[in-house]
């Protein structure tokens, strides 16, 4: 009745500590290196705390991932074009893939750890759902003749964390995103209905400024 009490200060502090610890472990070892015992220890917290906060290993990683992509979600729903509403679907699509690619490149280990933890439920994950809805909406607008739902899944499948790492050579950290853009270009290029509507390959050249809002380079 009295409006639920605010979160206790130590709780907030611990949440941050756990998240940071996870981040560090993720950075210094592979995704398998992040055991919840280790996370708790490094965060200086009991194991129970980690679970009370995040529910499960998947929840923890999900939370971290969510943090990394919050800015993009925001930009996509309420930000300015071309990411946000207002620009034509094709441009939004291109901008979105670019931004998502940047996140994927920066967080490939985190992403594959998360995929691993989610296992079967990956497609029920709220973040995934969000990306998928956004993508399929844009695709549907651009190519109403195709199965946008499936296309969106197919496009998202490419952002598999392990694949991103597999395809990111040490010397060229953006190769993945470039390739994704090329692939997406294929989809929109020359729709069946209006042949040669756009012969110009407006893909493949990405604006020099990157990371629209993902911060934390």
């Amino acid at each position: 009745m009295a409006g639920q009490r605010a979160e206790r200060a130590d709780a907030v502090r611990n949440r941050r500590a756990v998240l940071d610890a996870t981040e560090r472990l993720l950075a210094e070892g592979g995704g398998d290196h992040v055991s919840l015992d280790r996370v708790a220890a490094l965060a200086g917290v009991g194991k129970g705390t980690v679970f009370r906060r995040f529910g499960s290993r998947a929840g923890l990683l999900q939370a971290l991932l969510e943090e990394r992509s919050r800015a993009l979600k925001e930009a996509v729903t309420h930000g300015p074009p071309p990411l946000g509403p207002g620009a034509p679907a094709r441009e939004r699509l291109s901008a979105f893939l670019d931004a998502l690619g940047a996140i994927a490149e920066d967080n490939a280990v985190l992403m594959s750890a998360h995929e691993q933890a989610c296992a079967e439920n990956k497609y029920a994950d709220p973040s995934y759902r969000f990306w998928h809805r956004h993508l399929s909406t844009l695709l549907g607008a651009e190519r109403p003749d195709l199965d946008a739902e499936f296309l969106a899944h197919g496009l998202l499948a490419v952002f598999d964390g392990a694949l991103v790492r597999h395809l990111t050579p040490p010397g060229d950290p953006h190769r993945f995103t470039r390739s994704v853009q090329q692939l997406a270009g294929l989809r929109c290029q020359t729709s069946g209905r209006s042949p040669l509507a756009s012969a110009a390959p407006d893909v493949n050249k990405r604006p020099p400024a990157r990371r629209p809002g993902s911060g934390r380079c």
Copy 2:
């Protein structure tokens, strides 16, 4: 010097038993239901035997998967067109995706269990390598202007076991393959160099006869 001894009879028998047990467990429970203890028990074998034979959980699943896809590998390398050599790249591509889709649809649980077990090393898996090489060769022949290597990865990413299940409604077991074909059609349709070279959508209609050789429906 005397040429290494042939494999002992019990060894052969046990290998089969383990493989069959895995298959059964996979069928009756989810992929997580397949613990190596259970496999060993159901096969009537010691746990050590399972490991000596297959090395690891991943190895076991890999072996089973390999068994399921052997026929397709064979058909692709030495079989008759359109799967085998001889047919134009586009047709081989279409046939190949159809066949791979059929395998994926029939073995979605096995595949996702395998992906789960392989984790990071999925892209080093010999089967994956094989599919990838084949695909990128065909794609390269069809569209030399594109990054066939990447495209092949992107196409294979769609065959994620969990995704296949997610996209296979109870009533329509072949929806996945149909969609894949549509997607692949996009890639070959109207190459940039020869606009409208092929307006005809030769995709989406698959021959009534399926399962070119994957046997074991």
